[in-house]
C-alpha cells in the first residue's frame, strides 16, 4: 500500500513554516511589488543621462542640474518652507485643541472632536474651493472686514504663502490633534497631581511633566504633517496660485510636461531624502527631551 499523495499545498500545513511568514506574505508581496521595486527603479532612473531613453549610462547630471538651477532649488526650499511652517502651525494650533479634548468633561467634547476631524471627510479640491470663496478679493473674509471697517479696500488674502499654510493646516490639523491626543491621554493624572504636591505651579507642571511626556505624540504628529505637506500638490497650486513654488509642481512639470523622467526622479529622490532627514532630526529631538520612555 502506498502512502497517500501529499497535496501541493501541504507545505502550508507543516509546522516548519511559521504562521508569521504566512501572515506577512501578502503584505510583503504587495510592498515589494508596488513599493520597493518601483522605488529602486526611481533611484536608478535618477542617475540616467538621457531622458528619452531613461535606462542608459550612470551620471550625476540630474543632481548637478537641480543644485545649480535656481528654479529647482527654489521649489525645494519652497516645499521645505511650506512643510516646516505647516508643521509648526499645526502643532501650535493643535496642541491646545488636543489638550482640551483629552481633559475636558464638557458634553460638547465629541462635537468638537468631530469638527476637528471633519476636514478628512471632504475632498482636498472642495476644501480648496471653500478657501477660495472665503479668502477671495470679493470673498467672505474681505466683505466682513470691509463692513466692520477694519480695511478700506479689499486686501489680497489669496495666492500667497500664508494662504497655502492656512489651507495645509486646515487639512493636516486632524493628524496632529489625534496624535497628540493619544500621547496626552496616556499621561496619568497622578503625575501632574504629584508634581503639584511637590510645589510645582501649573506652568511648571505643564513645561516639565505634560509637555515632555506628550513629545512622542507631538513628534509623530509633526512627522505626519511634514510628510503629507511635502507631498501636497493641490493645495499649494489652488491657494498659492503659482506664487508659491513647491517641489511637487516641479516634479509634475518635469515628468508630465517635459517628459524628463530622470530629472523628475532625481527631484523625487532628493525630496525623499529631505523628508527622511527631518524625520531623523525630530526623533533625535524626542530622545533628547525625554529619553526612552514608555508610559
Amino acid at each position: 500500500m502506498t502512502a497517500p499523495r501529499r497535496p501541493w499545498w501541504a507545505f502550508l500545513r507543516t509546522r516548519r513554516v511559521p504562521t508569521v511568514v504566512i501572515g506577512l506574505a501578502p503584505a510583503v508581496i504587495l510592498l515589494t511589488g508596488m513599493f520597493l521595486l518601483p522605488l529602486i527603479q526611481l533611484v536608478t532612473m535618477s542617475f540616467a543621462d538621457d531622458y528619452r531613453n531613461p535606462t542608459t549610462v550612470f551620471t550625476l547630471e540630474n543632481y548637478v542640474e537641480i543644485f545649480t538651477r535656481a528654479y529647482h532649488l527654489e521649489s525645494l526650499v519652497g516645499s521645505l518652507a511650506v512643510s516646516t511652517t505647516s508643521m509648526a502651525a499645526a502643532a501650535v494650533v493643535g496642541y491646545p485643541v488636543a489638550y482640551y479634548l483629552v481633559h475636558s468633561t464638557s458634553k460638547y467634547k465629541s462635537l468638537i472632536l468631530l469638527a476637528t476631524i471633519s476636514p478628512l471627510l471632504t475632498s482636498i479640491v472642495v476644501r480648496g474651493i471653500g478657501w477660495l470663496i472665503l479668502l477671495g478679493e470679493n470673498g467672505v473674509a474681505n466683505q466682513v472686514m470691509l463692513t466692520v471697517g477694519i480695511i478700506d479696500e479689499p486686501v489680497r488674502l489669496l495666492y500667497n504663502f500664508g494662504a497655502v499654510i492656512v489651507g495645509e493646516v486646515n487639512i493636516l490639523l486632524p493628524f496632529m490633534v489625534l496624535s497628540i491626543m493619544t500621547s496626552l491621554g496616556q499621561i496619568p493624572r497622578s503625575l501632574t497631581d504629584n508634581a503639584a504636591v511637590l510645589g510645582a505651579t501649573a506652568s511648571q507642571r505643564f513645561l516639565r511633566i505634560t509637555l515632555p511626556l506628550s513629545a512622542p505624540g507631538l513628534v509623530s504628529g509633526a512627522v505626519l504633517v511634514f510628510i503629507l505637506a511635502m507631498g501636497s500638490y493641490v493645495t499649494p497650486k489652488m491657494l498659492g496660485g503659482g506664487m508659491v513654488k513647491v517641489v511637487t509642481m516641479d516634479i509634475y512639470s518635469r515628468m508630465l510636461v517635459d517628459f524628463n523622467w530622470p530629472l523628475g526622479a532625481a527631484l523625487a529622490v532628493i525630496t525623499m531624502l529631505l523628508t527622511l532627514s527631518i524625520l531623523l532630526i525630530l526623533s533625535r529631538v524626542q530622545a533628547r527631551l525625554i529619553g526612552n520612555v514608555r508610559l
Binding site: 496619568p188 497622578s190 497631581d193 503639584a196 504636591v197 510645589g199 505651579t201 529619553g291 508610559l295
Partner: protein, 371 residues
C-alpha cells in the same frame, strides 16, 4: 521641621449635587502622628485625602494645618509630600532628578531664594536615598526599578522637600504580601524617624492596625470610630467597626439589667454578662454583642459551669489553618466562630456534630447599639 497638627472641622464634600462622599467629618491629628483613614471603597477616605492635598474642593467645613486654614491655598503651596498608589514617579527623569524636581519646585513655592549649591543638592538627595535604603540608585530610571524600589523612591521624593504633612494613598496596594509587610515596617520607621504628621489611606485593616497611632474608621462618608488601634480593635464603637477591623461575632440581644459596670444581656436562649462602663443603657434596649473569635474558648459540654459566660452549641465545622482551627458553632443565639490555637488544650476532638460550650469573659466583649 517641627511636626504640625491637622484638623478637619465639619468637612463635607458633595459630588454631583446629591452624593455625599464626606459627611460632616471632624478629626484632629496630633503632631507627628500617623493617622489611618480606614474604610471600604466609597467610604470617603480617599476624598478626605484628596481634599487635604487640594485636588478636591470641599463643599463646606474647614481644614487646618498647624492652626491655619488651607482650603484656599493651592496644592503647590501646601507643603505636602505624597506617595500615590501608582507611585507617580516621573518616567522621563532619573531617580536623582525625580528628587531634585521636588527640591527645586518646593523651594520656589516657599519663595526660598537662597542658592542651593550642587554639592548640597547632591547631599540632600543622597542622604534621603540612604534613608530609604536606595543608596546609589540615583542614576536609574523608574522603569528600571522593581515595585518596592519605586515605592521607596516615591517616599524619598515625598520627604526630600521637607513637607509639613505626608499623605499616603494606598501605597502598598500594588505590592505582593511579603514585600508589603516589609515596606510597611520601613515606611513606619522612616515616618517616625522624620517625625512627620502623616495621613494614611487604606482599606487593609491589618496595615492600619500595625502602622497607625490613630485609626479613623469611615463608613459612607462618616467617622464611625476614631481611636488608637487597640481601642478600635478591642472596644469598637459600632458593629460595623467590629466587623471591618478584624473578624468578629455579632450577637443580637436586649439589655436585661444594668448594675455597677456590668450589663446583663439577654440573647436568644442565653443570658450573658458584659463589663461595660457605657451609660445610658436601660432595660429593654436592643443591643449588639461583639466578641472576637480569638476571645472565645470551647469547652466540652460535660464540663461544669465556671465564672465565664457560656452558651451551649453544636459544632458545624472545623477548619485547619496550621497555627489554629476556626471552629464554627451553632448556638441558640446565632452562629459563632472561634479561633482555637493549636497549643490550647481544647483543640482536640473538635468534630462537627459535637455538643460544646462556647465561653468568653465579660471583659472580652464590646457592646454596640443594636439594629
Amino acid at each position: 521641621m517641627q511636626p504640625v497638627s491637622i484638623e478637619l472641622r465639619n468637612v463635607t464634600k458633595v459630588f454631583g449635587g446629591n452624593v455625599k462622599a464626606v459627611d460632616d467629618v471632624s478629626l484632629t491629628l496630633e503632631p507627628g502622628h500617623l493617622v489611618t483613614l480606614l474604610g471600604p471603597s466609597g467610604s470617603g477616605k480617599t476624598t478626605i485625602l484628596r481634599a487635604i492635598a487640594g485636588f478636591e474642593e470641599i463643599t463646606s467645613g474647614e481644614i487646618l494645618v498647624a492652626g491655619n486654614r488651607i482650603e484656599n491655598v493651592p496644592t503647590h503651596r501646601r507643603q505636602l509630600g505624597m506617595v500615590a498608589q501608582d507611585y507617580a514617579l516621573f518616567p522621563h527623569m532619573t531617580v536623582h532628578d525625580n528628587l531634585r524636581f521636588g527640591i527645586t519646585t518646593s523651594r520656589r513655592a516657599r519663595r526660598e531664594t537662597a542658592r542651593i549649591s550642587p554639592v548640597e543638592m547632591n547631599n540632600r538627595i543622597g542622604s534621603m536615598l540612604e534613608l530609604v535604603g536606595l543608596d546609589g540608585y540615583g542614576s536609574r530610571r523608574p522603569q528600571q526599578l522593581s515595585g518596592g524600589q519605586k515605592q521607596r523612591v516615591a517616599l524619598a521624593r515625598a520627604l526630600v522637600t521637607e513637607p509639613r504633612v505626608l499623605l499616603l494613598d494606598e501605597p502598598f496596594a500594588a505590592l505582593d504580601k511579603h514585600l508589603r509587610e516589609q515596606l510597611q515596617l520601613e515606611v513606619r520607621r522612616v515616618q517616625q524617624q522624620v517625625g512627620i504628621t502623616t495621613v494614611f489611606v487604606t482599606h487593609d485593616q491589618g496595615e492600619a492596625l500595625s502602622m497607625s497611632d490613630r485609626i479613623a474608621v469611615l463608613r459612607d462618608g462618616k467617622v464611625e470610630h476614631y481611636g488608637t488601634p487597640s481601642e478600635v480593635y478591642d472596644h469598637p464603637l459600632t458593629s460595623f467597626v467590629a466587623g471591618f477591623v478584624g473578624r468578629t461575632n455579632i450577637l443580637h440581644g436586649e439589655v436585661a439589667g444594668v448594675r455597677n459596670g456590668l450589663v446583663e444581656v439577654g440573647l436568644e436562649g442565653a443570658q450573658i454578662d458584659v463589663s461595660s462602663d457605657q451609660s445610658g443603657l436601660s432595660v429593654g434596649d436592643r443591643i449588639s454583642v461583639l466578641v472576637r473569635p480569638e476571645q472565645i474558648t470551647i469547652e466540652n459540654a460535660g464540663v461544669p459551669a465556671g465564672s465565664e459566660n457560656r452558651i451551649l452549641g453544636t459544632i458545624l465545622k472545623s477548619v485547619y489553618f496550621g497555627d489554629r482551627f476556626d471552629v464554627t458553632v451553632q448556638t441558640s443565639a446565632g452562629v459563632v466562630v472561634a479561633n482555637i490555637m493549636r497549643r490550647s488544650a481544647t483543640y482536640h476532638g473538635l468534630e462537627p456534630g459535637e455538643s460544646v460550650w462556647i465561653a468568653f469573659h465579660p471583659s472580652a466583649i464590646a457592646l454596640a447599639p443594636g439594629s
